[in-house]
């Protein structure tokens, strides 16, 4: 069912396999030092890396929103230095004794500096107190296992207890296969925590980023009071290749894009990265009396 949810999906951005190949590879081909220039995997436009970074890692030519780390996302979203991180050192065990799971995680931890695929905490946006959770696709495609499930659940519980709104930036290949049915249950656990926050009359905003798929789409990601998506990101339940295998046809490029989801009625608005902080701030002010946070 979820065959290829764990694979990196890149064909979304305009197309063909060759177009969407890894930018580093392209850079090598043309002998451009890869820290100086950014070549867009979608439109192949080359810009100075500084300009690309200054543009919130969005291609200035075609508006391609590249994947960014949780840390970068937090920095561009919250008030500078306002993050009080929760559960910093939580790591998962190996519930089904999956071979090499510990080693695999160890090497990703070294590479990314992350302990698992999500950062949660309390912060402010233009002075409004919020709880924030941001998934990081560099960590096993931000799949949801015990740690993602537990940290999110605690974040929701904290928000409920403290009558705070919560903002979750989703990105995920789905439930983490390596933790077996324990991962599947995280979908129920997190949705339960959302339910309690919801019953308490508090605001939950989802920001869907690339890619939001599988068991994450089928749980907390789809449950926001307001669902925002970045332009052109992949959002879906089943993997594209699985569906293509079922129908024996190639799907249109915009299938499961943010725009497709909005057309079908599953996304409230598509907001460019640079406008997300401002949009969130407006929404928080609008909900001030209903868990919209208070000025500190």
């Amino acid at each position: 069912m979820l065959e290829d949810l764990f694979s990196v999906v890149k064909t979304r951005f305009n197309g063909t396999e060759s177009n969407s190949s890894n930018s580093k590879k392209d850079v090598k081909k043309t002998d451009i030092p890869n820290d100086l220039l950014f070549k867009c995997p979608r439109c192949s436009n080359v810009t100075f890396m500084d300009d690309f970074i200054g543009n919130a890692k969005v291609c200035p030519k075609c508006n391609y929103h590249s994947r960014i780390s949780a840390k970068e996302r937090i920095d561009m979203t919250i008030d500078k230095g306002s993050l009080i991180e929760f559960d910093k050192n939580m790591t998962s065990k190996n519930p089904i004794d999956f071979q090499d799971y510990e080693q695999k995680q160890e090497s990703i931890r070294e590479k990314t500096g992350l302990k698992d695929a999500i950062i949660t905490g309390e912060a402010t946006i233009r002075g409004d107190r919020i709880v924030i959770a941001v998934m990081d696709s560099r960590y096993m495609m931000a799949s949801m296992g015990s740690v993602v499930g537990e940290k999110l659940t605690r974040a929701f519980e904290f928000a409920t207890q403290n009558k705070l709104p919560i903002i979750v930036f989703t990105a995920s290949g789905g439930a983490r296969m390596q933790e077996g049915t324990v991962s599947l249950m995280q979908m129920a656990k997190t949705s339960g925590a959302v339910a309690r926050h919801n019953k308490a009359g508090l605001l939950y905003i989802t920001v869907m980023t690339d890619p939001t798929t599988g068991g994450v789409t089928a749980s907390f990601a789809s449950l926001g009071d307001i669902i925002i998506a970045e332009p052109k990101v992949l959002i879906g339940f089943a993997g594209r290749r699985v569906i293509e295998g079922t129908i024996k046809q190639r799907l249109p490029d915009d299938f499961q894009s943010a725009e497709f989801l909005m057309e079908k009625g599953f996304v409230d608005m598509i907001v460019e990265r640079k406008k997300i902080r401002r949009t969130l701030s407006h929404l928080l002010k609008l909900h001030q009396s209903k868990g919209g946070g208070s000025d500190e």
Binding site: M185, V194, K199, G215, S222
Partner: protein, 270 residues
């Protein structure tokens, strides 16, 4: 029986003579009336729902339907629900809550359907909504995995006060086929995948996910469907005794906690 590897249980649950909900419902419930449609889009044949009596108590039953032949399978899409199936389930769950009827969910699906229309109509949203709504549904919920419990498509009927599994049933995060195709890029190694995924009722009891195991006869349920129906009935009898008298707040707290405590992690201080 207890030592049968998951791959052999996979053969048992896929046996074409394995009883389905169409066999069990008349054996377990009296005066069952099927209710159709999600009131938004259509009626999904992969999930049937209705009302009837269990030992004289009115109950709501929601069940995933495997076909016993080609025609039935066509009608039930091989028990792979579309979003309207999950929305029908949610409608009937709310109806059960309104009329204070216990809800019994019978799970038997390879997974939610993966197709263009399913995506267009919000498969992910439909499943997510059920997880959230079932968690606070003010009536007892009992879920039983009869055969295959495939991923989110199964879990959408699996947020409950007690989860029981038939002794050969399997419950997994991803189909063994999918698991093999990701892990070894070879979908044909599904039997091997099955045996390392820890997806049998015994495995899941150890992991704190499955609460009760309902016995099947030697060789599988198809060898004696009447006996299995009796075992399910006697399980439900006990489950009713354990839960029907509970104050609703306590029931909902226990339900939340049941899922809340699943997860294996450690917290280091450094």
């Amino acid at each position: 029986m207890n030592n049968l590897p998951a791959s052999e249980r996979l053969d048992i649950v896929r046996n074409k003579f394995r009883p389905t909900v169409r066999d069990y419902i008349p054996m377990i419930f009296d005066d069952f009336f099927e209710l159709h449609g999600d009131r938004y889009y259509g009626d999904d044949g992969a999930i049937i729902g209705g009302i009837g009596y269990f030992n004289g108590t009115p109950v709501t039953v929601i069940a995933q339907v495997k076909g016993r032949n080609i025609e039935e399978n066509k009608a039930s899409n091989f028990s792979m629900p579309h979003p309207e199936g999950y929305r029908k389930a949610l409608r009937l769950a709310h109806q059960a809550e309104k009329f204070h009827r216990p809800l019994i969910c019978l799970i038997d699906t390879p997974g939610a359907f993966c197709g263009v229309e399913a995506e267009e109509r919000g498969q992910g949203e439909a499943i997510a909504k059920n997880l959230m709504e079932f968690m606070t549904l003010k009536t007892p919920i009992f879920s039983i995995v009869l055969g295959e419990g495939g991923s989110g498509g199964a879990l959408a009927l699996g947020v409950c006060d007690e989860l029981a599994m038939l002794s050969n049933a399997l419950y997994c995060v991803i189909s063994p086929r999918g698991f093999a195709s990701i892990l070894w890029k070879d979908a044909t190694r599904e039997r091997e995948a099955c045996d390392i995924m820890k997806i049998t009722a015994e495995n899941l009891k150890d992991l704190g996910i499955c609460d009760y195991i309902i016995d099947e006869p030697e060789g599988g349920a198809h060898n004696n469907p009447d006996l299995v129906a009796e075992n399910i009935s006697s399980y439900l009898c006990d489950a009713f005794k354990r839960n029907l008298q509970k104050p609703i707040d306590e029931l909902l707290n226990d339900r939340y906690t049941k899922f809340r405590k699943i997860g294996e992690f450690e917290e280091n201080s450094d």
